[in-house]
Amino acid sequence: MSPIPGIIASSQTGGLATFNSIATVAGTGSSGTITFSNIPSNYKHLQIRYIGKSTQTGTAARYNYTIQFNSDTNANYSRHGLSSDGATISSSGSADQTSISTINVSIPNSASAYANMHGSGIIDIHDYSSTSKAKTLRAFVGNDVAASSSGRINLFSGLYFATPTAISTITITLATGSWTTTSSFALYGIKG
């Protein structure tokens, strides 16, 4: 699922120098955008781990979000995905997109029915600093809201095929509402 680079399992404390925390960005409650900028290029891969929730209230609903690199809003992305709501399995693919989007709604809103609930996810971006390769992304995300046909499990891959350059900025944009202040996105660098 997520890269586990040669982990030594023991009862001893002492962390791994290969998996480093780069930055953590919390939602502000007034913006639907999370941005990681000035990402250092000295890692091999990146991983984003998050919990997320939309400030939108009213009827209980869940929303998509999009991922863009280097502020590129051109049609330089594609993605494929597999999803389930617990009743129906679906799959889709899209080419020449202006972002990589979740293929099915993954982020719950702030309706009372969804109190204390967040979506969660692990997003891996491989060889992100290469200047000769397109960038691949793999994500395992979901939200469980303890209600039939309302949660989602999403597995998706993405491709960023602009002229190869290192990824230095990652923008995650919520489709509806703002990221709550309880939303938190952590960016990690994995050394190779």
Binding site: F19, R49, Y50, A87, N116, F140, L155, S184, A186
Partner: protein, 166 residues
């Protein structure tokens, strides 16, 4: 100070009388927990489950996506007593791999969980993915990995990791 990705504890089963591996007194200094299980059981068709804080009430819910090499299937449970990998259960000879990611485990909201299971038996087996939650606002201080109707075989291993964001 906690490192970014740190093994908290490992339990390697000795003998064949262990049904539950427990990690207790988990420190709240990390952001997420990760549990990695590589296990076989002395009896086949035993379900491996995750429980938090020894909670056996119906505070768990999940959406499950499964493939068995022949068909894909999906299930939802809105009030479960654990997060289970069931149906065909653990093998007596071929290790199964299970990974649980527990997000914001020390926070004051419900705990989102993503889980995967790999049970390949060279001709049969399952691949599983779960989006789940433990609907408690209490910090996780205990993780149990248990078999529902069998014991772990000698050498089965469960490791708990802490992942700390900046």
């Amino acid at each position: 100070m906690a490192a970014t990705y740190e093994p908290i504890a490992t339990s390697t089963v000795s003998g064949t009388t262990t049904t539950t591996v427990s990690f207790t007194g988990i420190d709240s200094v990390y952001t997420d927990l990760k549990v990695i299980v590589v296990a076989t059981s002395i009896n086949s068709s035993s379900t491996l489950v995750l429980r938090l804080n020894n909670d056996t009430t119906t505070n768990y819910s999940y959406i499950r996506l499964r493939g068995n090499g022949t068909a894909a299937s999906t299930t939802i449970a809105t009030a479960a007593s654990s997060i289970p990998f069931d149906t065909t259960g653990t093998s007596t000879t071929i290790p199964s791999l299970y990974i649980f990611d527990i997000f914001n485990y020390a926070g004051s909201t419900f705990k989102p969980i993503l889980a995967t299971g790999s049970e390949d038996r060279n001709g049969s087996g399952n691949i599983w993915n779960y989006a789940a939650s433990w609907r408690s606002t209490t910090a996780v201080n205990r993780v149990d990995i248990a078999l529902s109707s069998a014991n772990f075989t000698d050498g089965s291993m469960v490791t708990l990791y802490g992942i700390k964001a900046a």
